[in-house]
């Protein structure tokens, strides 16, 4: 809309900012009790669009606030570098459908190494391109992490994640709260 100067009356916001707002307002009552004993470790992928390209760390800081609230501060391990200076996963810009898988995976090797260095069991990828690419490089390079949507972990923490909604969870979390 900015690029084409298309006038619009509505305001544009991301769901991540809303999750954070709802948690702060107490509307979304979530905590990390479910993960206290299990201690599953999480990291996040900062999608370029909401990190660097949004011009500030606001949304990705909200993302960290939400993730830490639901998995526990001690179970969150950040990548280095991160947020506005994060490495792109290599799936963006159409790369996943551009037809150069060898180059796309070579690009993603940096991301893969970053994730492996965190030692996390789970990567929260709030963007579908990132989700697809991070799963693919995980399989390709032999990583043993799982890639999950943020809403999956939110519902897990809320205790309302149905058995049909657990496709992306590993065996350690597959039964939690059922």
């Amino acid at each position: 809309m900015r690029k084409f100067n298309i006038p619009h009356k509505f305001e544009l916001i991301t769901i991540i900012e809303l999750y954070a707002q709802w948690i702060r307002e107490g509307k979304l009552k979530v905590n990390s009790d479910w993960n206290k004993e299990i201690g599953a470790k999480f990291t996040v992928q900062d999608p370029c669009n909401i990190a660097r390209k949004s011009g500030s760390n606001k949304i990705v800081d909200d993302l960290r606030f939400v993730v830490k609230t639901v998995v526990g501060e001690e179970n969150f391990i950040d990548t280095v570098p991160n947020r506005i200076n994060n490495f792109c996963c290599g799936g963006g810009g159409g790369a996943l459908q551009a037809g150069f898988p060898e180059q796309r995976r070579a690009y993603g090797k940096i991301k893969y190494d970053q994730i492996m260095a965190t030692g996390a069991d789970y990567v929260i990828a709030p963007c579908h391109n990132c989700h697809g690419q991070i799963e693919d490089i995980g399989h390709h390079y032999g990583g043993n992490y799982h890639v999950v949507h943020l809403w999956t972990i939110l519902c897990l923490a809320m205790g309302c994640l149905a058995d049909t909604e657990r496709t992306y969870l590993g065996p350690d979390l597959a039964e939690v709260g059922l």
């Binding site: 509505f10 792109c88 690009y107 949507h149």
Partner: protein
């Protein structure tokens, strides 16, 4: 005797053309410091890197630039520009190089997704009727089977809802059950929301394809629908 290259005699058509569109792209200010290249994950693929690209652009090596497939490996992530001391706009340069390739010669996967989106409202080709059918169907299942969500409400095109949500088409098309957790969160906080039937999908392959016209069309249709028909004050990007 080696002759010095006379810069004023260089033919730099591509550079001039792109600078016409993005006057503040700063290509002439490149210090050749290599900061961009050091931090770019696409460096070395197809023998290219961002500094080299700017050099080639400034030397007028237009054919080589346009021919290289590197423009589809660079993800236009913007990391180079953030680090560049001269704020050189490499991502937009890439976009404009992609734009130089005849539309039907651009990668088939991206092209197909862009065309589908223009035609049906989503890159995976699910028309609005299919989308509406799927979400209402999944919502019904949740109401029946998931305790605590008997009065879950999911609507398409509900006029006056406080927020309009987009949805990546991967969910309704290939894994509809993944929409449930999102709806449960919205339900729990009492959000007043709806999906739009027009250009409901969150992805935008026409942007990746560097198809200005298609991209603009998709956004215009969406804006018109939300502003004029749904009249919602808030649009929520779900990714």
């Amino acid at each position: 005797m080696v002759e010095a290259i006379k810069i004023d005699r260089l033919d730099v058509e591509l550079k001039d053309e792109v600078l016409d569109k993005i006057p503040d792209a700063n290509f002439d200010l490149c210090l050749t410091c290599g900061t961009c290249t050091g931090g770019c994950p696409a460096t070395e693929q197809f023998g290219m890197d961002p500094r080299k690209l700017i050099r080639m652009l400034n030397f007028g090596m237009d054919d080589e630039i346009i021919k290289s497939d590197w423009k589809w490996v660079c993800s236009m992530c913007g990391r180079c520009q953030l680090a560049c001391p001269m704020n050189i706009n490499i991502p937009k340069l890439i976009f404009n190089i992609r734009n130089k390739v005849p539309r039907d010669k651009r990668p088939r996967g991206i092209l197909g997704s862009c065309d589908q989106h223009i035609r049906t409202g989503s890159a995976m080709g699910a028309a609005k009727e299919d989308f509406e059918f799927t979400v209402l169907d999944v919502a019904e299942e949740i109401r029946e089977d998931h305790a605590g969500f008997e009065d879950l409400e999911v609507t398409v095109d509900r006029v006056g809802a406080q927020m309009v949500l987009n949805q990546n088409s991967r969910e309704p098309v290939t894994e509809p059950e993944e929409m449930g957790p999102l709806w449960k969160v919205l339900h729990t906080v009492g959000a007043d929301w709806t999906y739009p039937s027009v250009m409901w999908a969150g992805e935008n392959y026409c942007m990746f394809l560097a198809d200005d016209e298609g991209w603009k069309y998709i956004i215009e249709e969406f804006v018109l629908h939300v502003d004029n028909n749904l009249k919602s004050p808030l649009v929520v990007n779900t990714e």
